[in-house]
Amino acid sequence: MTRRTMRMAGVVLAGMVIFLPLSSLVIWSFAEKWYWPHLFPQQTGLFYWAKVMQGDLLRALTDGFLIAIVVTVLTLVITIPLAYVLARLPVPFKPLILMIFLLPQAFPQLPVFVNSTTLLYQVNLGGKLGGVVLIHMVGALVFAVWTMTAVFKSVPEALEEAAINLGASRFKAFYSVSLPLATPGIIASTLLVFLYSLDEFTGTLLVGSPFVLTLPVYMYRTSVGYELQVASISALMLMVPGIVLLVLLERYMKSEYLSMFGRI
């Protein structure tokens, strides 16, 4: 076998491993009648696509996006200063702070979120958008603090010292030197936070149910309720933002950022 055929065989094999599970979703989303054991549906069409556009799915979609936007903005606003300070200054108790931001990655989330839900109900945020935003922020913060601290660390301190040396204040140096240089990393991290919130399932299910509905929870309900067409359409919609991001950012994304995604 020549090199080229080996390569092609590799691509075909990998393509099958990746796309085989996903292809059934596509087929199901267009299936109007599909009886076992036929390989393809007897009747295909856009019937279910039209149907979902009127129902709960639309609400789940808009609520999900709203939550994701709020989570992203709030997370950014409170993370950037912290990440900068952690990257540059001798903050007291730095190891402890970093460890607290590692906990949600290191331990199973579900049993913890069970108790978080109780706490949120105590302050009357359970089953509300605000509660879901907060529970999303727990995961989003962990993710954002670690990636952005790394981003700021990668900006050479000497560049900033040069600005301070020329008479800039620390804030001015941050604003005019570090922030612009860190922008690409911050953008990557921001997009990933957004995607994290959009895809979050466990916290939303516990805190939001049954009042707040996002796409993953909606998909779960329809899937276990055997509305397979509706679930498959939701699943495809859930995949779109991620795939778009992957195609756009593949070349620029550092593997540390990507690896955070193994958990959603």
Binding site: I78, L110, V142
Partner: protein, 272 residues
């Protein structure tokens, strides 16, 4: 640092810290507290119930996580070796896709694919490999869960392992190739031993995430025992409102996660 600086740091750190402490650290600690309460009395009865009702589920969970981890690592070690030595960008790109597909979607996709009357059985029955009156069920069992976990985590493993293989300088491989080392030997003798520490870290990361998997078994689990631990916690809360036992089970899952982390941390220290 001056006092005003310390204050500024505090103000900056407070909001994010407050959220994580309030909604993760405190609930995490209260798991331990609540697990020791039964009808408002100090008691170990919750742990007794965990032992009586869920010991096989814990083993079941460990088995699935262990099996999936070994499968993922073995595949990743050789796949990445191949990708490191013979560059194949399209394959590399394809294996990044699962990273961006959330677990719930993976669960649903595998449910559609692997269910008794799913797409895979339909395809196999066309060529007579499957008896269509009694189709096998890969979903709704441990293999279905393992397939989902392997599929999703393989992307992560490829990312991490390939990254660490790439940091092995080309000359180390050339020196071996010069002596006639095959692709397999280059992986076994050079790449793998030189990346042991990163592999241990990736392994620890994936194992805890597999132990804690919730949406996948929720989507493609059978609803009957044995169940994965997270499902037990969820059902215990949702259907029985039994916070004591649920939290005791939670604490057990934390201990498992900590044990794994500790074990791997030791391996890394030995490795360097």
């Amino acid at each position: 640092m001056r006092l005003s600086h310390r204050l500024a740091c505090l103000v900056i750190a407070l909001p994010p810290l407050a959220i994580v402490v309030w909604l993760f650290f405190i609930p995490f600690l209260s798991s331990a507290y609540l697990s020791l309460l039964r009808e408002d009395q100090w008691s170990l009865r919750n742990y007794y119930l965990v032992w009586r009702l869920y010991r096989y589920d814990i083993l079941y969970t460990l088995w699935i996580a262990f099996f999936s981890l070994v499968a993922v690592l073995v595949i990743a070690v050789f796949l990445c070796g191949y990708l490191r030595i013979h560059i194949n960008r399209p394959v590399e790109f394809l294996f990044k896709i699962p990273l961006f597909i959330p677990f719930v979607v993976v669960g649903h996709a595998m449910r559609v694919l692997l269910a008794p009357k799913g797409t895979l059985n339909a395809a196999l029955s066309q060529i007579g490999l499957v008896n269509m009156n009694d189709p096998p069920s890969i979903a709704f069992g441990w293999i279905g869960i393992a397939v989902c976990l392997i599929w999703k985590n393989l992307a992560l493993a490829v990312l991490l392992v390939l990254g660490s293989y790439r940091s092995v300088d080309e000359t180390f491989l050339e020196a071996a190739r010069n002596f006639g080392a095959s692709t397999f030997q280059q992986i076994k003798d050079i790449l793998l031993p030189m990346s042991k520490a990163s592999l241990a870290v990736a392994g620890a990361f994936m194992f805890t995430s597999m132990l804690a998997s919730f949406s996948v078994p929720l989507m493609i689990g059978s609803g009957e025992p044995p169940q994965m631990v997270m499902i037990d916690v969820f059902y215990r809360i949702n259907y029985q409102m039994d916070y004591g036992t649920a939290n005791a089970l939670g604490v057990v899952s934390y201990l498992l996660a900590m044990g794994v982390a500790g074990y791997y941390l030791r391996t890394i220290q030995k490795g360097t």
